[in-house]
């Protein structure tokens, strides 16, 4: 290769030159420039639009588009620099007004300049992809006025000062404010956000940080919330009046964060005014305010809910574990109902029926109701109380309301089968003693229980009602077939199906001859109509009405229990009887007899017999005689039995044992059901599934389930897997 350099050929492109006056472009531009000046000086009346438009057109046509475009930018920039000096010179309050005035002037001028330069805008700018005249005019304003160092911070500070003034209660010119802020928005979203919104939010954040600190030191929770709410509405109002609607979310979140989120815990836990105080003192309005404000911040409602829940649990725990309160079951349940009503009201009026709060309420009740093992019994007693006497004079609707509320509590119970046991006992007592006030109310509750727990749960209870009904028919049939019995004592028998009723061991006793004859007649009548049945007399559950004439001829009708009747009838043939004699004659078990004698001899005003020696308790050596001086202003006298309304300790143990006993087959049935479908399952899973299946009735104890599994293995229903001892296998 030679070291001679390669010659570079350059071929000049052939250019079409438009032959015009070389000064043409400058001359034309001068005309346009002068016009722009005049437009800015508001002296446009003498300008001819057509001439200017034509000149601008010609410049573009003759390829001077570039000159026109840069000329327009340079001229406008110069003008805006001048304007910004004027704005800067404005003192104090007139600063904003001056800025606003100049902004309006600029907009008007820009519009007119665009009119003149429209041809350039539509052709030259389009094809060269430069910035169009209007947006260019706006960005020139932004760069030369808004971002002018001597205006930039001053403008921002002026605006923020005005906002601050308005926050402290002064009245400001909102119209001016709106037009200046509108200017930021017109200049583009980024200008509005960077040059106004962001500093505004920062300043607001600072303001509310200080203010909320001040408030929280000096106000109680209720007042604080009122102030926070007021601030929030003020800010929303401010946005509506002179800010971009998009700012609403941002400024409210600032207020929420500074005034609520940052002080959330302190507010809720404030002594003597916090959430617990509001709940205790029924401050529904404050609670509602708290809910609405806290709802706006993350974890706000969670905090409220947690505090409410722990308060509820604490309160409930005290309520159910307080031995004083447990003394009166009716009062106990009533208190529970009252609390529930109260919190229902709190949630519906203040917490907008929030589902999560309802759930929290339910779980709290479930938690503490089951803390007291006697809750099922108490609830049943409460129902007993209401259905026995309380409902007299109450309208049906009210009964329904009370029963519905009771059902609510019932739902919380984990040991529903215990409730069933007690309910059965109480119902039996009500039915047998004829003290049920309203059959409808009874049935209505049964229907409710049935919908809640299913047919199985109530089948026995319904059986009890059927027995009562058939007994009535049987009695009618009995007396119909024995017309001769209309004279003499009347026997009313209630035939109870074994199993449906809470069974108590039949206590034998010697009935008076008159009665036992009747009983025999009934037995033969009944067995005659129903073959293959067995009748046992439950003398401990019966009652009797006997007529008695006392020493001075006082006649009374005594309403007594069967046992009491047996004792009293003995005095027809004897004036004085010793305890031993009575025991021998009646064969009533000692404990029952003692109770029976106690009620006859020791209750003031109802002591139809007298005891010697006079004392509260019955001794083996005591003797009894008829109280000839017995008086009462009533003809009918009801001699109550001394019975504990609540169960005695051994009785409780017994009920408990029976419940445990009843659970065994249920647990076994559940295990077998599950294993039948799964065939093979490990220990933990089986426990979990059984617990889940039995949940609607009671909470099964894992050790008990384990025992049942062992029992089933013994009986060859299940077997352990030979390799993995934790696995159970179903044996068909």
């Amino acid at each position: 290769m030679s070291n001679q350099k390669k010659r570079n050929f350059q071929i000049e492109a052939f250019k079409h030159r438009v032959v015009v006056d070389p000064k043409y472009a400058d001359k034309t531009w001068q005309i346009l420039e002068r016009a722009i000046h005049q437009i800015y000086n508001q002296d446009a009346s003498g300008l001819s639009f057509e001439e200017l438009y034509r000149n601008a057109y010609n410049m573009v046509l003759h390829k001077f588009g570039e000159k026109l475009y840069t000329g327009f930018i340079v001229t406008m920039t110069a003008h805006l620099k001048e304007k910004s000096k004027l704005i800067e010179a404005a003192q104090g309050g007139s600063f904003l007004e001056e800025l606003n005035k100049k902004w309006n002037d600029h907009n008007k001028a820009l519009e007119m300049i665009r009119d003149i330069l429209m041809y350039m805008d539509r052709t030259y700018i389009e094809s060269t992809k430069k910035t169009h005249v209007h947006p260019m005019g706006l960005s020139l304003w932004r760069d030369n006025v808004v971002h002018f160092t001597k205006i930039h911070t001053r403008l921002l500070n002026t605006l923020l000062d005005l906002v601050q003034k308005e926050r402290t209660g002064e009245v400001i010119d909102r119209g001016l404010m709106r037009s200046v802020i509108k200017m930021f928005m017109d200049l583009g979203e980024s200008v509005y956000q960077e040059d106004f919104e962001k500093p505004f939010l920062d300043a607001s954040s600072e303001f509310y940080k200080v203010e909320s600190q001040e408030f929280i030191e000096s106000c109680d929770c209720g007042d604080y919330l009122k102030k926070a709410e007021k601030r929030l509405t003020e800010e929303i109002d401010r946005v509506a009046h002179y800010l971009d609607p998009k700012s609403e979310e941002k400024i409210t979140s600032v207020v929420e964060k500074e005034m609520i989120a940052n002080h959330m815990q302190r507010l809720v836990h404030m002594d003597n005014s916090g959430l617990v105080y509001m709940l205790l003192h029924d401050k529904y309005e404050d609670l509602g305010r708290m809910y609405n404000l806290f709802r706006r911040v993350t974890n706000g409602l969670l905090t409220v809910r947690d505090v409410m829940t722990s308060h509820l649990r604490e309160m409930g725990k005290q309520l159910v574990t307080d031995p004083e309160k447990s003394k009166d079951p009716v009062e106990f349940v009533q208190r529970l109902l009252d609390e529930r009503d109260k919190y229902d009201k709190v949630i519906s009026t203040a917490f907008g029926n929030d589902k999560t709060f309802q759930n929290a309420l339910n779980s709290s009740f479930e938690y503490f109701i089951n803390l007291n093992a006697r809750s099922p019994e108490f609830i049943s007693l409460f129902v007993d109380d209401k259905l026995r006497k309380g409902i007299k004079g109450i309208v049906d609707v009210d009964v329904e309301v009370i029963l519905d509320k009771v059902m609510m509590l019932f739902r919380y119970l984990q040991e529903k089968d215990v409730f069933e046991k007690y309910y059965k006992q109480h119902l039996a007592k009500r039915l047998l003693s004829g003290k049920t006030v309203s059959d409808d109310a009874e049935r209505s509750l049964i229907v409710k229980l049935k919908t809640e727990c299913g047919y199985q749960f109530t089948s026995k209870l319904e059986g009890m009602f059927t027995d009562m009904k058939t007994s009535e028919d049987t009695m009618r049939g009995f007396y119909g077939s024995h017309p001769e019995l209309s004279e003499g004592p009347t026997l009313i028998v209630q035939v109870l199906t074994t199993g449906s009723w809470p069974t108590q061991p039949a206590v034998p006793c010697n009935l008076p001859a008159e009665v036992s004859v009747l009983c025999e007649k009934f037995r033969s009548y009944y067995l005659g109509t129903h073959t293959g049945r067995r009748l046992t007399w439950q003398t401990n559950m019966g009652t009797a009405d006997i007529k008695a004439v006392f020493g001075k001829g006082q006649k009374h009708e005594l309403n007594v229990s069967t046992f009491q009747m047996c004792v009293l009838m003995l005095f027809n043939n004897a004036d004085r009887l010793s305890y031993k004699e009575i025991e021998q004659a009646t064969e009533i078990p000692a404990s029952d007899l003692k109770r029976c004698l106690q009620s006859l001899a020791c209750v003031k005003g109802k002591n139809v017999i007298k005891k010697e020696p006079m004392s509260k308790d019955i001794g083996e050596e005591d003797s009894f005689y008829v109280n000839e001086k017995f008086t009462s202003k009533f003809y009918k006298v009801k001699i109550g039995t001394v019975v504990a309304q609540k169960e005695t300790e051994p009785e409780k143990q017994e009920t408990r044992q029976r419940v445990e006993e009843d659970r065994k087959p249920q647990i076994e049935a559940a295990i077998v059901r599950i294993m039948k479908s799964r065939k093979i399952l490990d220990h933990n899973n089986i426990i979990a599934e059984v617990t889940k299946q039995l949940q609607p009735r009671f909470l099964a104890n894992p050790t008990e389930i384990k025992k049942r599994i062992e029992s089933l293995i013994e009986r060859d229903f299940l077997e352990r897997d030979s390799t993995d001892r934790k696995l159970y296998r179903y044996l068909a």
Binding site: F49, E50, R122
Partner: protein
């Protein structure tokens, strides 16, 4: 009746006009008249006359356009002058939309014929979105706007252009042959107004940029560009690029015994989200038509005439077009017989509708292969010097477009409410438009 207050008087180049502000308001705010009536301008009082230093004949035409919405250009006004004047008043858009109506294949009227300048056969003509078009001849692409003014041509320095396509009214994609050893060819994005290269699309195989020959082009509404590509032996297939980023997003490699990289025609099927790829006789000895699904890289349908009996040899498929509405592909042979293949069946055969064997007798000296196009339910087929229009479910021939000179039609294209037909002789192209709707 009093004198209407919105009466306006103009003196245009010495001729007086009188009109109303209402009429002028039809021009819109972004026009000379819109600006004229802006409050800022101290418009002369009622009786004074506004002087405009422009051509009065054109002003009359444009004023009538604003009055009636119709464009009536007297024979003595050159088109260019009218366009120039309309441009002054910023009324070009008005002229454009008054000029021709919405496209209807059965109402087309020949509006213009533009004489070509380049030597060599025309390769392709493509209608632009706003009524312009571009014509590829050898290595040059001529670009025309809707006024049929020619802009700077795109010159590829002796690389042969295979296909052209419009991305939008300002951007054209060219596919070109690779020249061995030069590493050029491929695809480029060009400005339609200046003819400058804006972007070059690259193909990578195994993360290595390779040179390639790009063939047929197609575009999807999801801003994708498809092109058939040929590189080294194993680099045949269909490339996919993103129109926004310009980056290659996918490549569907050709499988042995099939043809994708040589394809004559690509067509994006929006309803099926598939690409039709057709390689046709005589580029290959056999015809291959397939539908590609790029989402799971699957050829979802294919058809080929390999192994067809020789008896129907004369019925070679020369162009194919998918018709999504009727789930079929329409094909055409060199005698302009239309055939249909059912897309719902795999491996179906062509159902030919032998319309005319008559054509066979008068084949021109320089035959052009027929081409197909589909536009809003109308099927267009070019044959010799005419284009047939078929309509309806049975594709009945409803119109035929023909003019006297220029020879056979080698390509045609529909777009911007116009049909452009490129003739093989003299490189002349015809512009067909639908006239504006009737007065009543």
């Amino acid at each position: 009746m009093g004198i209407s207050k919105d009466r306006i008087k103009f003196n245009v180049g010495g001729r007086l006009f009188e009109t109303t502000a209402t009429t002028l308001a039809n021009a819109g705010r972004d026009s000379f008249f819109g600006a004229l009536f802006d409050d800022g301008w101290n418009l002369s009082p009622q009786d004074s006359v506004i002087f405009v230093d422009r051509n009065s004949d054109c002003f009359a035409v444009l004023l009538d356009l604003l009055r009636t919405g119709d464009l009536n250009v007297p024979a003595n006004i050159p088109e260019r002058l009218l366009h120039r004047e309309a441009s002054f008043y910023c009324l070009l858009d008005h002229v454009r939309s008054a000029r021709w109506g919405p496209f209807d294949g059965n109402r087309l009227r020949l509006s213009d014929s533009v004489k070509g300048t380049s030597p060599g056969d025309g390769t392709a003509i493509r209608a632009g979105p706003d009524g312009g078009c571009c014509v590829a001849h050898g290595s040059v692409v001529h670009v025309y706007d809707w006024m049929l003014e020619e802009h700077s041509p795109i010159n590829l320095d002796y690389q042969r252009v295979n296909d052209v396509g419009w991305i939008d009214s300002d951007n054209i994609v060219l596919s070109a042959c690779e020249r061995l050893g030069r590493g050029d060819g491929g695809m480029g994005l060009f400005s339609s107004s200046s003819g400058d290269l804006r972007y070059k699309f690259q193909v990578s195989h195994e993360n290595q940029v390779k040179s390639y020959t790009a063939g047929a082009l197609s575009f999807s509404p999801d801003y994708e560009i498809f092109a058939s590509c040929k590189g080294r032996s194993n680099e045949y297939g269909i490339g996919v690029w993103d129109q926004i980023t310009g980056k290659q997003t996918d490549f569907f490699y050709e499988s042995p015994g099939w043809s994708l990289g040589d394809a004559d025609k690509l067509q994006w099927l929006n309803g099926k989200s598939c690409l039709l790829v057709a390689t046709l006789f005589p580029r290959k000895d056999n015809c291959y038509i397939s539908l590609l699904d790029f989402r799971d890289k699957n050829m979802v349908w294919s058809w080929s005439d390999i192994g067809s009996p020789m008896a129907i040899d004369e019925k070679r498929v020369r162009d194919a077009i998918a018709m999504e509405d009727s789930n079929s592909i329409c094909v055409v042979n060199e005698f302009e017989d239309l055939g249909f293949i059912d897309l719902r069946m795999y491996g179906g055969s062509v159902r030919w509708s032998s319309r005319s064997k008559l054509m066979k007798s008068k084949m021109p000296d320089e035959p052009c292969y027929p081409k197909l196009a589909l536009h809003e339910g109308q099927l267009f087929s070019s044959m010799n010097d005419s284009i047939s229009v078929f309509c309806g479910p049975d594709w009945v021939l409803t119109s035929r477009l023909r003019r006297s000179y220029g020879g056979s039609i080698c390509d045609f294209s529909i777009g911007g409410d116009r049909l452009f037909a490129l003739h093989s002789e003299e490189n002349v192209f015809d512009v067909w438009e639908t006239p504006p709707p009737p007065i009543i």
